[in-house]
């Protein structure tokens, strides 16, 4: 029987690790929305105040208590509704199951009703809140080695909840500030002293959580053999979840060969920064490891297990987390990291459609941002700052010139297109890259690409053999243009005659031609371009835009009401909430006046059956965010396919983003005389199909945006939206 189980386990692991079958779908929230989502923030805040008022001992200062609950309730709700949280999905279910094991072994923990949400973040982190919620990041889950390590982390966070650490930390910080403030206005050195004092308090809490957390952990049946490595995982958390030497051939598709000198001879040594405990809210990891080892000494681990739920389940969650991490790198525009993540998936789980998709999209994105000189809009650190094997990717991406990278991305994605499902979205990426070649490198046909490298080589030999003419000598001695090394021109040798390839290329060149025409129309280096731009701006000022749109999907309208001192404004949480509701009403009435059909997807007013709506909001928000990074060029976001599905479902290709920020000074006299900017209104429209965007309103103004101004502005926005050209 035991043997049979082992075989079954082996088969199931093989199945999980079988990369060829790995077609990873995005993890989405499932089932009904938890109560944490559907209860309004204000209600939660009042409840927290009522509950806490029974326990007056903790609060010397009523205002501090109010401030804490107000800030924490709204911050947590914002996080929950941001789309960065997962619930009822396989990962969350598994993590909650592990937590239940700990809670069942320590029944006193049940009183706080703890629950875990998975945070869609690349950071390696976990934290607990006063509401009994633990957040654990995808980044951390992708690095953990077994279930016991996960249990230890959850035990640690459960102590923070059980001991009300957040609240105590806040009160202590307020006490420190208050005691220093009594001595007068704080100067820099006093602020430093205050921070050190707060950090010390926070470190003490962490040590307490380590200590008591281990007690909770030891009450379970989890083995403690691997848990000491948790601190090593944290120490090296800035590195990817594995260190495998990067092979450039993973990027080389069709006939492309990246020159060897694009790889570093040796990658930078892994050398984590020295821990400065004084400046940190957490104790030094070495100290924590020592404490843990000390406690574990002499303990017997018989009958203890690394996995209580199951190893297969853990591996499945680990795989899903790693795949989600790769997606998150694409979403956060950490494109070099995404390429390395795709490479790791390929190496660990085998070549798969998913790993190819990640690399293909990352190459496309990097090429687009490089071609448009907007690399500062994506995460693009110097390769010199990167440690470990992933440094090679950063180096290659740095070395690849615009044309080389674009052609590399085309070759990679064309291979995907042929190998995988002949997906139209992939096709559109390729033609978009060809358009970039036209726009930025003036390549307007495939004639500049060589069919067979040997032909060119032989012709070069022939030139050497025969007597050279003056022209031959000049041509031969002419230095090669640095920007256009020839190697990439052989990339398409094997597909140059394919009709599909030629068709896609021609589509791209046509698109490039069209875009070039538009670019030239407003080319400010020519008199005509400047004149056209002037006329266009004048027309905009006078008449506005005429977009002729009849239906639009509004994603998460946002109103941020800031208050207090202009130089240091603080968010008015309750006010923002109220004004956001007013904003929605104004949007609806303005749309009505122009007969524009709108659908507002708002994460702040969800019912329990609105999980699908929340998923749509997450995808749309991420899509809009990457579109905004792309500023003024056409860009297919990594989740293009998903956004197109959403747009079809809501029956409109147009998405609208509305952001209003308004600062209102508390002091009425200062309000009258302050000349600093006070409000911002940002209304933009995105065409999902074409990628075109139009910023109807992007005004930074001095007027306080009361409802009258807001109505006027939004009425105008919808007027421009609906007006036919």
């Amino acid at each position: 029987m035991k043997r049979f189980s082992s075989i079954l386990l082996f088969i199931s692991i093989c199945f999980i690790l079988n990369g060829q079958n790995l077609k990873y779908d995005r993890i989405i929230n499932q089932g009904q929305l938890p109560e944490d989502y559907t209860t309004p923030s204000e209600e939660k805040y009042i409840q927290s105040l009522e509950t806490s008022s029974k326990d007056q001992d903790n609060f010397k200062n009523k205002n501090t208590r109010k401030e804490f609950y107000l800030g924490s309730t709204y911050a947590i709700d914002d996080l929950l509704r941001s789309g960065y949280i997962l619930f009822n999905d396989p990962i969350s279910k598994y993590v909650n199951a592990v937590m239940d094991i700990i809670v069942n072994s320590n029944p006193k923990l049940k009183s706080k009703n703890p629950r875990v949400y998975v945070l869609r973040s690349t950071a390696v982190n976990a934290f607990a809140t006063d509401q009994g919620i633990i957040f654990i990041s995808i980044g951390l889950l992708s690095q953990l080695e077994d279930e016991a390590q996960l249990a230890l982390i959850l035990s640690h966070e459960l102590v923070h909840i059980q001991e009300n650490h957040n609240l105590q930390d806040f009160i202590e910080a307020a006490r420190v500030d208050q005691s220093i403030n009594k001595r007068g206005r704080m100067n820099t050195s006093q602020i430093d002293i205050a921070n050190l004092e707060k950090n010390r308090y926070s470190r003490d809490q962490e040590l307490e959580a380590d200590d008591k957390g281990l007690d909770y952990f030891l009450n379970t049946d989890y083995s403690f053999e691997s848990i000491e490595r948790v601190f090593d995982i944290l120490r090296y958390s800035y590195l990817p979840y594995d260190e495998i030497a990067f092979e450039k051939n993973i990027l080389e598709k069709l006939s492309i060969k990246i020159p060897d000198d694009y790889l570093l001879e040796k990658v930078k040594d892994i050398n984590p920064a020295e821990e400065d405990e004084e400046q940190s809210t957490h104790p030094a990891l070495s100290k924590r490891t020592r404490n843990l080892s000390g406690r574990l000494k002499g303990l017997n681990s018989t009958n203890k297990k690394d996995y209580i739920i199951s190893k297969e389940n853990f591996l499945d969650v680990q795989l899903k987390s790693r795949a989600e991490l790769a997606r998150l790198f694409l979403d956060r525009q950490c494109l070099s990291d995404a390429i390395y993540a795709g490479f790791l998936m390929n190496k660990i789980y085998g070549d798969s459609e998913f790993s190819r998709e990640v690399i293909g999209k990352a190459l496309y994105g990097y090429a687009k941002f490089k071609n448009n000189d907007l690399l500062e809009n994506i995460y693009n650190p110097s390769y010199k700052d990167i440690e470990g094997e992933s440094q090679q990717v950063f180096h290659i991406m740095k070395k690849l010139k615009k044309e080389e990278l674009t052609i590399l991305a085309i070759a990679y994605n064309y291979d995907r297109y042929i190998e995988d499902s002949k997906d139209e979205t992939v096709r559109s990426l390729i033609s978009d890259l060809f358009a970039d070649l036209y726009l930025h490198k003036n390549i307007n046909s495939l004639t500049g690409f060589y069919t067979i490298k040997s032909e060119v080589d032989s012709s070069e030999v022939k030139i050497e053999d025969k007597e050279l003419s003056k022209i031959d000598k000049i041509k031969q001695n002419r230095p090669k243009a640095e920007d256009d090394g020839p190697w990439q021109r052989f990339a398409f040798s094997e597909v140059l005659q394919d009709s599909t390839f030629r068709n896609i290329a021609n589509e791209g060149f046509e698109l490039g031609k069209e875009l070039k025409k538009e670019e030239d129309y407003f080319d400010t280096s020519t008199y005509k371009g400047r004149s056209n731009l002037r006329k266009y701006r004048k027309r905009l000022e006078k008449k506005g835009r005429s977009l002729g749109i009849g239906k639009v999907l509004i994603i998460n309208p946002l109103f941020i009401q800031l208050k207090g001192n202009m130089s240091n404004p603080s968010p008015g949480l309750i006010e923002s909430d109220k004004r956001r509701k007013a904003l929605k009403e104004i949007l609806e009435s303005s749309a009505n006046l122009h007969d524009v059909d709108i659908k507002i997807l708002d994460a702040n007013s969800l019912e329990k059956n609105d999980t699908e709506v929340l998923n749509d909001i997450v995808i749309a928000s991420e899509w809009i965010s990457t579109q905004l990074d792309a500023e003024n060029f056409l860009y297919k976001s990594y989740n293009q396919k998903e956004i197109e599905e959403i747009s079809e479902r809501y029956n409109t290709p147009y998405l609208m983003s509305v952001v209003v920020v308004s600062v209102r000074q508390s002091n009425p006299i200062a309000r009258l005389f302050n000349r600093k900017r006070k409000s911002l209104i940002f209304v933009s429209i995105f065409d999902v199909k074409t990628g075109r965007k139009s910023f109807i309103k992007s005004d930074l103004t001095s007027n306080y945006l009361n409802d009258v101004f807001l109505k006027s502005e939004l009425y105008d926005a919808f007027s421009q939206l609906s007006k036919q050209n």
Binding site: E541, K543, D699, T701, F709, K711, S712, Y715, Q720
Partner: protein
């Protein structure tokens, strides 16, 4: 006459064509009527016939006006206004070469005007009709003066003598052309009403040539001229958005 027709036609066409463009107004309301009450501060300068007068002073004149406003572009609107001012003014005895005492006149101004305004874009990004605005206006003012009593020595000329004196001084009228720069702030209340505060700075130009040998008429003309020159006017207005 042809020129005036051409002028009116041009204005009409400009406004109509602009209205065909994008002119949102406030929630689609482009036409509003506003009633304004204001205080006009006239700079009362010595006249040409009395350059020795050093008693320059400011004259406070209550003003009432009604305007009809039409938002014809996103940030522009035009206003036609009609208004009335009534106040009294004292003519110094220095004018009275016949040795007569100073006179007090009741002066009334009736004016019509047309103004062109633009809401601020740079600092206060606002769309007409709300927000800060600035503009200019042309005014045509008919000003009339009636002497009402002696300003000094009330006990010297009473009863019959005063009546006789008033008979001699007839109502005098003059026409002025005014040009004013205007700035202000307007907001909307309850999506229906407008509230406006404005400041005008203007100048009246005399369009009449008078040549009267009757000294009493000449005095009145002189007084009207003196009262219609530079002015500063504060207004508070309340209106309604009609359509």
């Amino acid at each position: 006459m042809i020129n005036i027709r051409f002028f009116i036609l041009s204005i009409f066409l400009t406004i109509t064509l602009n209205c065909l463009g994008q002119a949102p107004g406030y929630l689609g309301n482009r036409f509003f009527v506003e009633g304004d009450l204001g205080l006009n501060v006239g700079f009362y300068f010595p006249s040409t016939s009395n350059t020795t007068d050093e008693n320059k002073y400011l004259l406070l004149r209550p003003t009432a006006k009604i305007s009809a406003n039409w938002v014809y572009a996103r940030r522009k609107y035009v206003a036609a206004e009609i208004g009335y001012q009534q106040f009294s003014s004292t003519q110094d005895s220095l004018y009275n070469f016949a040795g007569q005492p100073s006179l007090k006149y009741r002066i009334s101004n009736q004016f019509v005007g047309i103004g062109f305004y633009k809401t601020s874009r740079k600092k206060f990004n606002a769309l007409a009709p709300i927000g800060f605005y600035s503009g200019f206006k042309f005014l045509l003012s008919k000003s009339s003066a009636v002497p009402v009593r002696y300003a000094e020595s009330n006990d010297r000329f009473e009863g019959v003598e005063k009546a006789a004196y008033n008979l001699n001084f007839k109502k005098t009228e003059m026409t002025f052309l005014g040009l004013a720069l205007s700035t202000g702030f307007r907001t909307v209340l309850k999506d229906k009403f407008t509230l406006n505060s404005a400041l005008d700075f203007g100048y009246y130009l005399n369009l009449n040539n008078f040549d009267s040998r009757d000294p009493s008429v000449a005095f009145s003309y002189e007084e009207l001229k003196r009262n219609n020159s530079l002015y500063l006017q504060f207004n508070i207005g309340f209106g309604v958005l009609l359509f």
